[in-house]
Symmetry: C2
Subunit: 344 residues, 2 copies
Amino acid sequence: MNYLKLIIAIVLIASSARVQAQKKEELKDKYVLVIHGGAGTISKSKLTPALEYEYTCALEEALHRGQYVLDTGGLAITAVEVAVKYLEDSPLFNAGKGAVFSHEGVNEMDACIMNGKDLTSGAVAGVRNLKNPIEGARLVKDSSKHVFLYGDDAQEFCLSKGASYADSSYFFTEFRWNQYLKAREKGTIILDHDTTDVNYQYKTLEELEKFGTVGAVALDRHGNVAAATSTGGLTNKEFGRIGDSPIVGAGTYASNRSCAVSCTGKGEFFIRGTVARDIAARMEFADISLTESGERTMKRLKKLGGSGGFISVDKDGNYIMMFNTKGMYRGVVTNEKNAVVKIY
Amino acid sequence: MNYLKLIIAIVLIASSARVQAQKKEELKDKYVLVIHGGAGTISKSKLTPALEYEYTCALEEALHRGQYVLDTGGLAITAVEVAVKYLEDSPLFNAGKGAVFSHEGVNEMDACIMNGKDLTSGAVAGVRNLKNPIEGARLVKDSSKHVFLYGDDAQEFCLSKGASYADSSYFFTEFRWNQYLKAREKGTIILDHDTTDVNYQYKTLEELEKFGTVGAVALDRHGNVAAATSTGGLTNKEFGRIGDSPIVGAGTYASNRSCAVSCTGKGEFFIRGTVARDIAARMEFADISLTESGERTMKRLKKLGGSGGFISVDKDGNYIMMFNTKGMYRGVVTNEKNAVVKIY
C-alpha cells in the first residue's frame, strides 16, 4: 500500500513537472509591434498623395516583416531589428539609405538596440559606411564587450564582425532624390510636371530631413520586449554631435519589468529628460500604467521645451504612440489586429 | 482717514514685498560637496603609505577648492567643475593629466557635467588634447546647441570656445610615472630603493589604471544640485568605446527634484542599468530616501553583474558614497563638517 502511494506520488509529481515544463515552453498568443518613422510638422498640405502612399506602403511592409518574426514565435529583439532594417533601406526616412542629404554626400548615422529580457544593448554613433547601422548596433550588443562604440572604430569593429559595407554612393543624395521624385510624379500623378521646378521638391526634402528617425518596439510571444532606433541625425548639425537615438535611456530603452521605448525628436531634450528610461521608470517605481507614464513623461518633455514623440509597448501588450508635433509616421500590428498606419 | 488707510496699506505691501525679495536672495547655510576618485580593488597592501598620503592630499585639496566656491555662495555647477578640474590636473587619477598610460601616449577622455536646476548638460567623449575635459563639457553645456559632442570635432569646438589645449606630452606616460614614483619613494620612504625594480610600480600602475574615474556632486547655498564626471576610460579598450561617464543618466545625472549623482566602475553596466538616473528616479517616482534609493540601485547593479560605486547628494543635503568594490577614493565636506577623505 505504501509502495503504491509512493508510486502514485512519483507519477503525479513527474507529470505535474512535465506539464509545468510544457507550460514554460508554450508560446503565448499575444504579440505587438509598433514602429515610427519620425515626428515633426508633417501636414496633409505638405505631402503629395503619391508620397503619402509611399510612406504608408513602407511602414506597412516594415510591420509585416516584423510581424512575421513575432507570429512564428521569433524574438522581439529580432522583430525590431528586421523592421528598422527595412525602414533604413527605404529612401523615405532619415536613416540608413535615406540618411544623406548634405552636399558632400556624407552623414553620420547612429543606432541603438536593447533587449528587455536581460538589459543587454548595443549602440553605434557617427558611422558613415554601414549599410544598416541597426545591424551594427546588434553586432556591438552580441559580439563586443562594450555597449557603445563611436566613429571609424565602431565601423571597423562592425565590419570585422560581418556588417554590410555601403559606399557613400549608396546613400541618398539630393540629386538622386530629385530623380526619384520626378520619376514618381511622372508615373503616378503629374504626368506633365515641369521638371525644372525643383523648388517644391526641395521644400519637401527639408521636411523629411528634419524628422526621419526610425524606430520599433515589440512584445514577443515569449513575453520579452525590445527596442531599436536608427537615425541619420540632423542637418546642419555640428559634426561629432551625438543625439538621443543611440543612448540607452534617452532615445531607446527596454526592460521586461516595464516596457520598450523608441523616441524621435529634438535629441538634446530627450537626453536631458532621459525620456525613454523615464517612461519605463515611472511604471517600475510609481506603479502606474504605460499610458499614464507616457502622458506624464510627455508633459515633462514639453516643460523642458522639447518636441517630438515616442512609441512604447509594455510587458502586457499595452502600447502607446504619443507626439507633441503635428504628425508622426507610425504604425502598429498585433496578433489580433491587422497592420494600421497613420501619419497625422 | 481713507487716504491714511491707503498709505498704510501701500507701505505694508511694499515692505512685505521687500522682505520676501530679500528672503529669496538670502543664502541658506547648508552646502555639501562629495567627490570620488574611482572605485576598485584598492587595498592597504597595494598602496604604499606615501602613495596613500598623496591620494589623501589630492582629495582634500579638491574638496577645499570646491568648498571655497560653495562657502562664498557660488553655484554647485561651478563647485563640481572646480573640484573635478583639480583631480584632472593630478597624475594620480585616470582623468585629465593622469589619463594616459598607453605606450603610444594617447588616450581618449570623456567628461560630463549637469546642472540640476534646469537639467542643462554638456558632454564630450573621445577627446585627446583638452587639458581639462570637464572644461570642455562645461563649454558644450554653455555654448553649444547640442549636449553631447564626440572626438576631434568635439575638441575643435571646445578649443574654439576657449578650452585649454594640451599636447600629448602633457599627459601622463609610463616613463614619467616611473620617474615620479622613484622621486617620491626616494624623498619619503625607501631612500635606497632599487631603481631597476619596476615590477612593483607597474603593478600599482595597473591598479590605478582600472579605477581612476573622478567625479563630484554638490548642493549649493541656493538649493541647486549639480554633478560632474571625468575619465580616461579603460586600458585595452576598443578605440571609439564610450563608457558611462559622459552619458546623462548613466554615469552622471542631476536634478533639483531629487539629487545629483556621479558614478565610477565598469561603464557598460552603468549604461545598461541607467544607474545615475535610477537613483534620482526612485526618489522622484517612488518617493523614497536617497539612502534607500542608493541601496536599491546598488542591489540591481549587482544583479546585472556590475561593480563600482557612486556618490550622490540630494536637494536636502543628504549624501551617500556607496560601492561594491574593496575601496573607493572619496571625500566629503559640508558647511558643518570639515573635509573627510577615505579610501577603503
